[in-house]
């Protein structure tokens, strides 16, 4: 599989811009409490991509690479935000809106699910100690909204492999986070 990633410096410049754009979009969404319950990180990533696409000539094949990089940024943006929120919570003593929990609609039309971003971050870090590739797959799908086909393209492996790794990774994370919760209580 050949993926033409333009010249490296160009992509870097693009990512710098993407980072600024993502931060701006995310902070807007996260600041507005009314909107907090509809925040979908992957939408932000795709929107950022579309915005940049209008301003630059991004090779169509670069798209998945862009999205995979953007997913890392998105993760960082959300985690930073959750941390700040947590510090503020400690300081003020006021019961805050649960902005550190990102709500994702996991299936079309079904009940949305709340994911605790900081817990996920901790679990993901633990997972990547064992298996960085699996952590990447989760990151790309969950934070970047890449389909598994796209993840397979980025990782240069078969779709079957991605699906296997994904199943394992997400189960492991779920278990890890569940146990983490018990420990906290």
């Amino acid at each position: 599989m050949v993926v033409a990633v333009a010249d490296g410096s160009e992509l870097n410049a693009l990512m710098a811009e993407a980072y600024a754009e993502l931060r701006r979009l995310a902070s807007f969404h996260l600041r507005s409490e009314r909107r907090a319950h509809t925040l979908r990180p992957t939408e932000l990533v795709h929107e950022t991509y579309l915005r940049l696409l209008k301003q630059h000539s991004i090779d169509a094949e670069c798209r998945v690479h862009f999205l995979s990089l953007a997913s890392t940024i998105m993760r960082r943006v959300l985690v930073d935000h959750a941390r700040r929120k947590k510090r503020a919570k400690r300081g003020s003593g006021v019961q805050p809106v649960t902005l550190d929990r990102i709500l994702t609609e996991t299936r079309f039309g079904s009940e949305p699910e709340i994911v605790d971003i900081l817990a996920l971050e901790e679990a993901l870090n633990a997972l990547s100690l064992n298996d960085p590739d699996q952590a990447r797959i989760v990151e790309m799908h969950f934070f970047g909204g890449l389909t598994f086909e796209e993840v397979a393209q980025v990782q240069a492996v078969s779709l079957r492999t991605v699906m296997r790794e994904w199943k394992f990774a997400r189960t492991w994370l779920y278990q890890h986070m569940k146990e983490g919760n018990h420990e906290n209580r």
């Binding site: 160009e10 811009e17 701006r24 979009l25 807007f28 969404h29 909107r35 992957t42 939408e43 932000l44 929107e47 579309l50 915005r51 209008k54 301003q55 630059h56 000539s57 994702t104 609609e105 996991t106 299936r107 079309f108 039309g109 079904s110 699910e113 994911v115 996920l120 064992n130 298996d131 989760v138 799908h141 969950f142 909204g145 389909t147 598994f148 296997r164 790794e165 199943k167 394992f168 997400r170 189960t171 492991w172 994370l173 779920y174 278990q175 569940k178």
Partner: protein, 835 residues
């Protein structure tokens, strides 16, 4: 066992268990050796949790696509996804009722309809839309609501690309692009007659099939989905790029909104510039820009001669050049047509798409278009623009015809015979002369390199007026017309800071003559607004040109301001006159004997008054000019203050002054850029932009921010090169060159490059001296000559070259004598008066 290996085993066992049926799992675990027992139990525990995890971390995007594949919508079965965007997804589908094999496109919105009211409205709209039958409109075949309460629309499947891509890919000519656009306009016009407004026209909704047929998508769907209701919301996937100001403000949407969007699509089709790029903002700021910022003429946007690209370097990588369209094709009619379609005020746009399309057809047929408000001047402009060489030949023939007529008229008047015929001829000559003096001259003045032709035009024109009149006429209007001619001659001969022939003395004589005639006209018709305005202008021009001879006559401006204030009171609605009044106040302040602080106070007051006029006339170049000038004056004054502080070793005060200067200088530059965007062709704006860039370069040099200084210096240099290249006969540019060289010199000094500084000073001194010899009455030339020789003298002294220094001292002494003679006092050449 190492951690890596253990993890690997865990994954293997997990996968194996996961693949196996639940019954088989126990036997698999039993087979695993004791050594790996804990790993196996761990894998089993994970597998148990797996069910519980449900759709943990799994996203809708993937789920959605899966759920649609093979799904049935109405009588259609989805076969594949064609694309998806912020609004929803588009799928290809086939009819599955066995009736016939029809492939269709189905657009599924991602915005749910959650009230029966919305559903009812959708159904009504669907019926209306289904009635639209036009070869250029994609048929709406069906529509409905999915199980997830998402509206969907079944449409004819089109194999095509967006109109802008099509034009770019096929390198279409302007004519071909316009013909495509007409297909689009026809479709919109048809829909408007059916009372359907599109509301979301954009290149992506206008597809062109491989055989060149335009197909419009999504007619009226925006209304059904109500997407235009809140385009300002950040994060709303729909960008307002092609939306009209009233759409963005949430005002009533009419056919005029579609006309606007059509105009924007045409703008992009001909220039290759997307609205975001044109406004130079990103999509978050776009809404505000659409409502408040006027776009440049398309011909300007396409040539992008300077500046705008520089302001948004991030966009430079775009591959949107339109090689087959040349700015020349757009200048004039197409500029006017597009700008008319995209006016901010819907009432001032074309009355209908049909009118818009008619103008395009007129353009294509070479007929007169309606898009120009001033049709008389416009026709003149059209004539002049067609070909400059042809124009001068044509003018020569007009001149011949006129001289013949003049002689006839003159004789007729003298003989006092056939008075009636004479009167008719008299009026004809008068009209022709005025056309030449005003319309032709003013149009030609917009061209670079036209200085000599302009001089000839007005002098000839005046000749004809003189031949049918005398200076002691008692016709106020005729006196006014002659006075205008004298004033224009005066300007073209030697008006400071405009392209001129450098003949100051003759210029002054003509300006005086103009004032004299107007004073008489003023006495004859004191309430005539036109006469009053011209008198004000002539006073101002006389004062300005006298300044070139270092003759400061503030009372001339005071007179002009006094007359103008009364005229404003007589006719307060004229914004142009009020703007001009501000300009006069600037000039009056310039010449006043006030001290620096009081003067700056005046400029600040004028800025404040000027900013009040901006909302009334956002595109008034005079107001922008006044704002630019006042900011520039304060910037200059602070820059000079800084120099004085530095000379007196108060470094901190100097830096503070320069920083203030920088702030005002940047504001001035901003206004200058706006001016040139509004009137890109005018040489004067280019010159002003040069000054603004150079001043900024200068103060940044003093602030030792050499990198920034260099970039503004280079910008200034580029502009000056353009000026010189465009109009080699204009002698003013040599003086500008001096100012540029002075800055080069200072940059070299600040950078510690002594040798470079020396070579700059030495070559500049030569250029200045040569110019001064050719224009000995020009005071600025004297100062520049003195300035560079003095710098050279200093450098020789520092380098301990007494012989060279002595030679220069003699030269400087002579120059100082000359300056003493001219200014009544010895003016230092230190650069204070220049820098």
């Amino acid at each position: 066992m190492k951690i890596d290996e253990r993890w690997q085993r865990l994954k293997e066992i997990f996968n194996e268990l996961s693949d196996a049926s639940p019954d088989a799992r126990d036997s698999i675990i039993a087979r695993i050796s004791d050594e790996e027992g804990t790993i196996a139990r761990e894998a089993k525990a994970m597998l148990d949790v797996e069910q519980e995890a449900g759709s943990f971390l799994e996203l809708d995007a993937a789920a959605f696509t899966r759920s649609m594949d093979g799904a049935k919508l109405g009588n259609f079965c989805v076969t594949r996804e064609i694309g998806s965007g912020g609004m929803g997804s588009v799928f290809e589908a086939v009819r599955d009722d066995g009736e016939f094999d029809q492939r269709v496109a189905i657009k599924v919105s991602n915005r749910g309809l959650f009230s029966t009211d919305m559903v009812r409205r959708l159904l009504i709209e669907r019926q209306i839309l289904a009635r639209l039958e036009h070869p250029n409109i994609v048929r709406l075949l069906d529509g409905g609501i999915t199980n997830e309460r998402l509206p969907f629309f079944v449409m004819e499947l089109v194999d095509g690309v967006p109109i802008t891509d099509y034009a770019a890919r096929h390198l279409l000519t302007v004519r071909e692009r316009l013909e495509l656009f007409l297909q689009m306009a026809n479709a919109v016009s048809y829909a408007h007659r059916q009372l359907v407004v599109h509301r979301d026209l954009k290149p992506n909704n206008v597809l062109v099939t491989p055989d060149g047929l335009v197909k419009l998508l999504d007619f009226g769907i925006a209304k059904v989905l109500d997407v235009e209701s809140n385009p300002q919301t950040v994060g709303t996937p729909m960008t307002p790029e092609y939306a009209s100001p009233e759409q963005i403000r949430g005002d009533t949407i009419t056919t005029a909104s579609d006309i606007y969007s059509l105009g924007m699509v045409l703008y992009e089709l001909l220039t290759g510039q997307t609205p975001c790029r044109l406004y130079g903002v990103d999509s978050l700021e776009l809404s505000r820009a659409i409502c408040s910022v006027e776009l440049p003429r398309p011909s300007y946007a396409i040539s992008d001669p300077m500046g705008r690209g520089r302001l948004r370097t991030a966009n430079m990588a775009m591959n949107d050049t339109v090689p087959s369209v040349d700015a020349r094709h757009l200048r004039g009619d197409l500029d006017n047509i597009i700008l008319m379609a995209i006016r901010k005020d819907p009432i001032r746009r074309y009355g209908s798409v049909e009118q818009f399309a008619d103008d395009i057809r007129a353009y294509l047929d070479g007929r007169t278009v309606t898009a120009h408000p001033q049709s008389y001047r416009y026709r003149t402009a059209k004539f002049v623009r067609r070909n400059r060489v042809a124009v001068s030949i044509a003018l020569a023939s007009i001149v011949l015809v006129m001289s013949a007529t003049c002689i006839a008229v003159y004789q007729a008047v003298r003989a006092d015979r056939e008075r009636q015929i004479a009167e008719i001829n008299f009026q004809q000559v008068r009209k022709l002369a005025n056309i030449v003096i005003n319309d032709y001259h003013d149009e030609i003045a917009k061209f670079d390199g036209s200085t000599e032709l302009r001089a000839k035009l007005v002098i000839d024109g005046l000749g004809y007026l003189n031949s049918i009149s005398t200076d002691d006429s008692d016709d106020a209007q005729l006196l006014k017309e002659m006075a205008i001619a004298y004033r224009k001659i005066g300007t073209v001969l030697g008006m400071p800071y405009m392209a001129n022939l450098g003949r100051t003395e003759e210029g002054i004589a003509n300006q005086e003559k103009s004032v004299e005639l107007l004073e008489r006209a003023f006495k004859l018709a004191p309430n005539d607004l036109g006469v009053r305005d011209e008198l004000v202008r002539s006073y101002a021009n006389l004062a300005e040109i006298l300044g070139r001879r270092n003759e400061n006559r503030p009372e001339l401006y005071e007179k002009a301001v006094a007359i103008n204030e009364v005229t404003i009171a007589l006719d307060p609605g004229d914004i142009g006159r009020r703007a001009y009044g501000l300009r006069l106040r600037v000039l009056m302040t310039d010449l006043s004997t006030l001290d620096d602080i009081a003067r700056s106070q005046n400029y600040r007051q004028i800025i404040a008054d000027g900013e009040k006029l901006v909302p009334l006339a956002p595109r008034d170049v005079t107001v922008l000019g006044v704002l630019a000038v006042c900011n520039e004056r304060i910037a200059n004054s602070m820059r000079w203050n800084g120099l004085r502080h530095r000379n007196e070793n108060r470094e901190a005060d100097a830096v503070a002054a320069w920083e203030t200067s920088e702030e005002f200088g940047r504001r001035s530059l901003e206004h200058r850029l706006k001016q040139i965007v509004i009137e890109p062709g005018l040489p004067m704006h280019r010159r002003n932009l040069f000054v603004a860039e150079l001043n900024l370069a200068c103060v940044l040099t003093f602030l030792k921010r050499l990198e920034e200084a260099k970039s503004h210096h280079q910008a200034a240099k580029r502009i000056l090169d353009q000026i010189k290249q465009a109009d080699p006969a204009n002698s003013e540019s040599t003086l500008d060159e001096m100012a540029l060289l002075k800055n080069s010199f200072e940059m070299a000094i600040e950078a510690g490059l002594k040798d470079k500084a020396f070579s700059i000073a030495s070559s500049s001194a030569k250029i200045a001296e040569r110019y001064f010899r050719g224009h000995s009455d020009n005071n600025e030339a004297l100062l520049w000559t003195g300035y560079f020789h003095e710098r050279l003298f200093e450098l020789h002294q520092q380098a301990n070259r007494p012989r060279e220094a002595e030679r220069l001292r003699q030269m400087l002494d002579a120059l100082h004598m000359e300056s003493l003679h001219r200014f009544g006092k010895d003016t230092p050449f230190s650069g204070l008066a220049l820098g």
